[in-house]
Symmetry: C2
Subunit: 332 residues, 2 copies
């Protein structure tokens, strides 16, 4: 295992020290492993809390800030944060307008966020609502999930709901908006290589030199099938076919994300985006906005995922609204 770390057990704690040093605009609670907006709790707005296993950066800590999340809980690598962390974050962002939990659909995350919401209600009376993101068309159930996994749409949802929360919209509006966004988005990913969890010390899985995994999960959990390595053009087709078969994206504009898994050069991601854009165009779909880069990663895994989200004028307006986080920044 070759990594820029000290002790494998200290990776998350020490990365949080670096995040604090790099970003004076956020506040880091090292005891509870929570990254807060510097001005949380922010009066007049619903608090947005997300979190999950570490190793997917910039998700979620890199999306804390104006126009996105109020707090993110960092679990161990590929391991859900605890209910206690989530409860603490919920208290830390509540300004009396309630809190929305944004949860990727993995069994551990869903259970723990549910418990945190119950504890918050019982102990503090804070109103907590939850959106569970489940946009991955690859598999119905998987190693860590009942139902579809939550992946790329989470990034777009945190941006869009974050913008709406910034405008002071009430909790029930945000719940409806988040649900609509989740229903309107689909993703599919693939891997060329595995990643290595520091505490494990060896690759999560092995792929032969001429193989790739289609429908890979962001923790390296198995996808749809292991197939022969194909060209970028064929990979783009294999990623988009199940997305386009699952939901009609031709009725209006879309936001597209071509996401790198962490170990793929930006040059290749742009090449892939060129292939994806051609297929989308041929399918009669109009791209309103796009992201190309590493937004929801799996440590140093080589590979990519594609996310499509149906976006009406209101979603595009929310997309264009100012955002100031480590991972996404514009308009400010």
């Amino acid at each position: 295992m070759k990594k820029l770390i000290n002790d494998p057990q200290d990776v998350v704690a020490e990365a949080l020290i670096g995040i604090e040093a790099a970003h004076p605009e956020v506040r880091v609670d090292h005891t509870n492993r929570i990254i807060y907006r510097g001005d949380a709790p922010k009066a007049g707005k619903v608090g947005l809390v997300s979190g999950g296993g570490s190793g997917h950066e910039p998700l979620h800590g890199g999306y804390v800030g104006l126009g996105m999340l109020d707090a993110a809980c960092a679990g161990e690598i590929f391991t859900s944060p605890t209910p206690d962390q989530m409860l603490e974050a919920t208290k830390g962002v509540d300004a009396g307008n309630g809190v929305l939990h944004i949860v990727k659909n993995y069994t551990g995350d869903v259970m723990n966020f549910e418990m945190a919401a119950e504890l918050a209600a019982a102990e503090t009376g804070i109103t907590v609502e939850t959106v569970v993101v489940n946009d991955d068309v690859a598999v119905q159930d998987s190693l860590y999930t009942a139902g579809r996994r939550g992946v790329g749409v989470t990034v777009l949802l945190e941006k869009l709901v974050g913008a709406a929360a910034e405008e002071g919209r009430p909790l029930e509006d945000l719940v409806a908006l988040a649900g609509a966004i989740n229903n309107a988005g689909r993703s599919m990913g693939m891997a060329l290589t595995s990643c290595t969890v520091p505490a494990a010390g060896k690759p999560t899985f092995e792929l032969a030199e001429d193989e790739m995994e289609l429908g890979i999960g962001i923790h390296g959990e198995p996808g749809r099938r292991r197939v022969r390595l194909a060209s970028a053009r064929e990979i783009a087709e294999q990623l988009l076919e199940p997305i386009l078969a699952d939901l009609d994206f031709t009725s209006g504009p879309v936001i597209v994300m071509l996401n790198g898994m962490g170990g793929t050069p930006l040059l290749e991601l742009y090449l892939m985006y060129g292939e994806v854009a051609k297929i989308i165009d041929k399918a009669g779909i109009t791209v309103a906005r796009n992201l190309v880069g590493n937004y929801i990663t799996s440590l140093e895994m080589a590979g990519c995922s594609v996310t499509l989200l149906r976006a009406d004028q209101e979603l595009i307006r929310l997309w264009d609204a100012p955002v100031s986080t480590a991972g996404l920044r514009w308009g400010i």
Copy 2:
């Protein structure tokens, strides 16, 4: 070789198609492989042209836009663009105020930009000035360079001089500013793994499982020495020691960049930044601004580099000025 590509020969051309699709705000000349600001040539400002071998993205194409470059020439991977490309870019950005070439110190780049400047003077009468960036303290001469190599300071220089150009400052001012920035910055890098140039099909070099290369170049060219894999803490010391020995950074604030080589997870880069920040602090140096992420890469190489730049209030003001590019965006 496992890559998201079609034919190894088409990687740069096809990545440019993706860049054009992703970024409607830039204009891509596919024949000459030049990325232009959408509004180039921009009246009233000096044109800034850079470029170099591809494979270092977001450098340089990702730094084209308001507040940074007017044009970037893309060479083949790790290969200088041609004088013809650079001449064409120079013509394409000149608005009558002259053009500044920003050149990383590699023999091919320096020769070709020099020839392009001569051709521009002879054919068109455009005044061209050049800054050669040579900030890498690792080695005096190397495989592709006489003198020190140009690395991380290039990113900071393109931002800072870009901001000054945007204010309408004349060419001679920008030349002086660029020279001062180059003199005030130092970098040093390291690699855990090699990268694979698509046309070569195999890793540029081999490192054993317990080895790392200190002072690596951004094309995988040899550094200072191959040593035993160390902890992040020790690596931070080994990168900073030669930087701090080469220039006094204690007299005022600095801008720090902790740059990923392309294949290192953001989590590890933040952990490394934490270590770097501790050493800098202990050395009595004040960090005014920082960047942590992949800014000047070597395809999928795992590793990082550290750049320090002495930054007075004027440089910090230019740093904070609005920038709108694929790779750096704020204030707008």
